[in-house]
C-alpha cells in the first residue's frame, strides 16, 4: 500500500512536471522568441512543480513508515486486557506482540492462542488496513496540494530556476552530510562500546598487558576461566607483518616508480603503469589464496633448506603478499610525484653537468618527497588495516615475537575471530573487538592526518 502510494505520488509529480512545462512552452512560443517574456526556461517550471508535488508527499510517506509500527504496537498493548499486560515485563510484552504479528501475517505457531490474542490479531489487521488507506489518501492529498500551490505561484516572471537551484543545493548538502554523519555515528558507537569494555577490563591491562587470551568462562568453575586482554602481542603482530610488507613494498615500489618516471621508454611505460595499477584492483581475498597456497609453502621449504622451522602461516608469508598488494600504492603515487616535478628542474640539473643518477638523487627525489611520503603513509595505513590477507594467511594465537618465520596474529584477525559466530554484547570477549577496532582507528587516523599534513605543507612549494 505504501509502495502504491509512492508510485501514485511520483505519477502526480510527473504529471505536474509535464503540465507546467507545457504551459511554460506555450508562453514561450507565444512570445515569438522574446526572451524577456519568460524568466526561467520551461524545464525549470516543470521541475519546480514536480519538486513541490513529490518531495513533501514522499517525506510524509517516509515518516509514516517510521512511525506506523511503534504507534500500532502501543495501540495494541493498550487494547489488550489490562490484567494480562500488567503481569508482563518488557521482554514478555515484545514476545506477545511478536506472536500477534506473526499470526496476523498468517504464519502458524504451535499451541492454541488465547482468545484475547485472536481478538488482537483481528484488531491489528483492521488497523493496518485503515492506516494504509490513510497513508494513501493523505500522501495523495499532500501531493495535490503541493501541485496546486506551486501551479498557482507559476507565472512568466516567476523565478523558477532560482527555486529549483536552491532545492538541488539542499539535496547536495543532504548527501554530503550523510557521509559525515555516518562517520560520526560509527566513531561514536566505537567509543561507547569501547567504554563499556573498559568497565570490565582495566585500561592499564589492555594497554600494557603482554598476554592476549580472549576467552570467557561458560561456567564459573571452568579451567582457565579468566581471559587476558593485553593488546601488546596483537599490535606487535600487526606491526611485524606491516613492517615486513612495507620493507618489501617501499624499495620495490619506489625503484619501479623511478624507472617508470625517468628511464622507461614510452611504450614500456604505457604497458607497465596500467599493469601495476591493475594489482591494486585484485581483491585481497585472492591475495590471501596466493599467500596460503603459494608463498607460505615456499617459505616453509626455504626455511627447511636453511634449517629454520617455519610455521605454515608465518608472518613472512602474510607480510610479503601484503607487500605485493601495497606496491601499486607506492609506485603509482611516487610516479605521479616524480612526473609532477617540473621539467625545468631536471634540465637545470642536467645542464649543470649532473648525471641522471645525481639529478634523481639530489633534485628529483627531494622535490617529490612529499608525494612519496604520502604514498608510503597511505600504504602503511592500508597495511595496518588490511584484513583478508591476514585472516587467511596469518595465525590466530597471539605470540609476542620478532621472528618472521613464526605465526603471529594481527588486530584485524582478532576482531574477526572475536565477532564470528554467536555473540552477545555483554561480555569482554566481544567488546574487546570494539576496543581493538578503536585503537586501530586511532592509528590509521593519525597516519592519514600525518600524510595529509605532509602533502599540504610541502605542496606547491616547488612550483
Amino acid at each position: 500500500m505504501i509502495l502504491l502510494a509512492t508510485l501514485l505520488v511520483l505519477a502526480v509529480a510527473a504529471l505536474g512536471w509535464w503540465l507546467a512545462r507545457r504551459r511554460a512552452r506555450q508562453v514561450e512560443l507565444r512570445a515569438h522568441g522574446h526572451r524577456d517574456r519568460l524568466h526561467s526556461r520551461p524545464v525549470y517550471h516543470g521541475l519546480y512543480v514536480a519538486i513541490w508535488t513529490g518531495v513533501p508527499a514522499l517525506l510524509l510517506l517516509l515518516a509514516w513508515i517510521v512511525v506506523q509500527g511503534p504507534v500500532l504496537d502501543a495501540l495494541l498493548l493498550s487494547s489488550l486486557p489490562q490484567d494480562v499486560v500488567r503481569g508482563l515485563d518488557e521482554n514478555a510484552r515484545a514476545v506477545l506482540l511478536n506472536e500477534i504479528k506473526t499470526r496476523a501475517a498468517g504464519n502458524a505457531l504451535p499451541g492454541q492462542p488465547a482468545p484475547y490474542v485472536l481478538e488482537a490479531v483481528q484488531r491489528l489487521l483492521r488497523w493496518r488496513a485503515i492506516a494504509d488507506m490513510a497513508a494513501l489518501a493523505l500522501s495523495l492529498a499532500v501531493a495535490l496540494a503541493g501541485l496546486a500551490f506551486s501551479w498557482r505561484r507559476l507565472s512568466p516572471s516567476f523565478r523558477a530556476r532560482k527555486a529549483v537551484e536552491r532545492a538541488f543545493t539542499w539535496l547536495m548538502l543532504l548527501c554530503a552530510s550523510l557521509a559525515v554523519l555516518t562517520t560520526v555515528g560509527i566513531v561514536l558507537s566505537l567509543i561507547f562500546e569501547t567504554m563499556r569494555f573498559f568497565t570490565m577490563v582495566p585500561l592499564s591491562e589492555f594497554l600494557f598487558g603482554l598476554r592476549w587470551e580472549p576467552q570467557i568462562a561458560f561456567r564459573p568453575d571452568q579451567v582457565a576461566s579468566s581471559g587476558a586482554f593485553g593488546m601488546i602481542p596483537v599490535f606487535a603482530g600487526t606491526l611485524l607483518i606491516s613492517a615486513i610488507a612495507l620493507g618489501f613494498a617501499v624499495p620495490v615500489g619506489l625503484l619501479s616508480a623511478i624507472y617508470l618516471a625517468e628511464f622507461a621508454s614510452g611504450r614500456f611505460r604505457a604497458v607497465a603503469k596500467p599493469t601495476l595499477e591493475f594489482l591494486a584492483g585484485i581483491p585481497t581475498v585472492v591475495y590471501g589464496f596466493f599467500a596460503i597456497l603459494t608463498v607460505a609453502p615456499a617459505i616453509k621449504r626455504f626455511g627447511e633448506a636453511l634449517g629454520i622451522a617455519a610455521a605454515p602461516n608465518s608472518a613472512l608469508a602474510a607480510g610479503l603478499v601484503m607487500g605485493i598488494m601495497l606496491i601499486p600504492f607506492i609506485s603509482s603515487l611516487s610516479d605521479d610525484a616524480l612526473a609532477a616535478v617540473p621539467n625545468a628542474l631536471r634540465e637545470g640539473s642536467i645542464g649543470l653537468g649532473a648525471t641522471r643518477a645525481e639529478t634523481i638523487r639530489h633534485v628529483l627525489l627531494p622535490a617529490a618527497l612529499p608525494g612519496i611520503m604520502a604514498g608510503v603513509l597511505l600504504a602503511a595505513s592500508r597495511a595496518i588495516g588490511e584484513t583478508m590477507i591476514v585472516v587467511m594467511a596469518a595465525g590466530i594465537i597471539a605470540t609476542l615475537t620478532l621472528n618472521p618465520f613464526e605465526a603471529v596474529t594481527t588486530v584485524t584477525v582478532q576482531i574477526v575471530t572475536l565477532l564470528i559466530g554467536d555473540t552477545e554484547f555483554d561480555n569482554p570477549k566481544t567488546l574487546a573487538a570494539f576496543a581493538l577496532g578503536f585503537v586501530l582507528f586511532l592509528v590509521t587516523l593519525a597516519l592519514n592526518m600525518l600524510s595529509m599534513h605532509i602533502v599540504r605543507k610541502y605542496r606547491e612549494q616547488y612550483d
Binding site: S265, G266, P342, A344, L345, R346, E347, G348, S349, I350, G351, L352, G353, A354, T355, E358, H362, V363, P366, A367, Q461, Y462
Partner: protein, 277 residues
C-alpha cells in the same frame, strides 16, 4: 641518438682549423658547420654554420619557432634528452668535436653551462643551489673552499649582498629576478667556459631585466656567452654579434651594430623594424 660520421668530422675539423674563421681569427670558442636538426620527421634547423668568438656575447634573434633555442641547446647537447631529436653537423668547442665519442656529454655540460627561460632554482637552500655543481664535480677540497666558491659565484652574479644573511633560506623563496641571478650563480659555480642563456629575462620585470643585462655585460670579460632573446632591444644592448634565424635557417650574422643599422638581408631588416615576427 646523435648520428655524425666520424670520418666527416675529422675532415671538417681539419678544414676549419686550417682556414681560420673570418669572424674571430684564432679565438673562436665554438665553430659549427652544416648543422641540421630533426624532431622526428620534422626538420627544425637547416644547414646552419656559425662561429662564436670567446669572451663576447653572441645574440640569437628571430621569430618564435625559428630554431634559435634548438640551436642553443645543441651547444651543450641538451637535445640529447629529447628522444626524437636528431642532430647532424659539426660542433667544435676549442677545436674538439663535442658530438664525437671523445667527449662525455656530462663533462661537456660542466664546461658549457646553461641558464633557462624560467628561473628554475632547486628546492634547496640558496647555498645548496650554488654548491650543487661544485659538489657533483668535486671542485671544492673542503668546506671552506666550497664556501668561497659559493660566495664568489654569488658575488659575480650580483646577488651576494642581497642573500648573504640568509644562505639557508630556500632558493624558491626569492623573487623572480633574484631566482634568475641565483641560477646564473649556480651556472658560474661549476666554472664553465661558455654560458648559454635561453631568454633569461623573458619572465622578469624591466628592473630585474636591467640587472641581468648589466650582469651579462660583466660576465663577458671572462666567459663566452650565447644568448637567445625575443627582445631586439636586449640583443642590441648586450651583444657584440647578432645572428638572425628564420624558419630554421641562419639568415644573417654579423657585428650587432651592423645587423641593426645596415642589415644585408631584406628579411633581417623586416624583422628588426618590426614588420613581422
Amino acid at each position: 641518438m646523435t648520428m655524425t660520421k666520424n670520418r666527416d668530422i675529422t675532415r671538417q675539423a681539419a678544414t676549419t682549423n686550417d682556414v681560420a674563421s673570418p669572424v674571430c681569427g684564432g679565438e673562436c670558442k665554438f665553430i659549427t658547420r652544416d648543422v641540421n636538426v630533426f624532431y622526428g620527421e620534422k626538420q627544425a634547423i637547416f644547414d646552419v654554420s656559425l662561429d662564436i668568438p670567446d669572451r663576447s656575447v653572441m645574440a640569437l634573434i628571430g621569430p618564435s619557432g625559428c630554431g634559435k633555442s634548438t640551436y642553443l641547446r645543441c651547444l651543450n647537447r641538451m637535445n640529447d634528452l629529447i628522444d626524437i631529436c636528431r642532430v647532424e653537423g659539426t660542433f667544435l668547442l676549442d677545436g674538439e668535436d663535442i658530438y664525437s665519442g671523445a667527449i662525455d656529454p656530462v663533462l661537456l655540460r660542466a664546461r658549457v653551462g646553461m641558464v633557462f627561460q624560467k628561473p628554475n632554482p632547486f628546492p634547496k637552500s640558496i647555498y645548496e643551489n650554488v654548491a650543487y655543481g661544485p659538489r657533483i664535480h668535486g671542485l671544492a677540497k673542503n668546506k671552506a673552499d666550497l664556501d668561497e666558491i659559493v660566495e664568489t659565484s654569488l658575488r659575480k652574479a650580483a646577488l651576494w649582498e642581497e642573500v648573504k644573511d640568509r644562505l639557508d633560506a630556500p632558493g624558491t623563496g626569492l623573487s623572480g629576478g633574484q631566482q634568475q641571478r641565483l641560477c646564473i650563480a649556480r651556472a658560474i659555480a661549476t666554472r664553465p667556459e661558455v654560458i648559454l642563456m635561453d631568454e633569461p629575462a623573458s619572465a622578469l620585470d624591466p628592473i630585474a631585466t636591467a640587472r641581468i643585462e648589466e650582469l651579462i655585460d660583466e660576465l663577458k670579460e671572462n666567459y663566452c656567452i650565447v644568448i637567445v632573446t625575443h627582445s631586439m632591444q636586449q640583443a642590441a644592448r648586450v651583444s657584440d654579434r647578432t645572428a638572425f634565424f628564420h624558419l630554421g635557417r641562419l639568415i644573417e650574422e654579423g657585428p650587432t651594430e651592423q645587423i641593426f643599422t645596415a642589415p644585408r638581408e631584406k628579411q633581417t631588416q623586416d624583422y628588426i623594424t618590426g614588420r613581422y615576427g
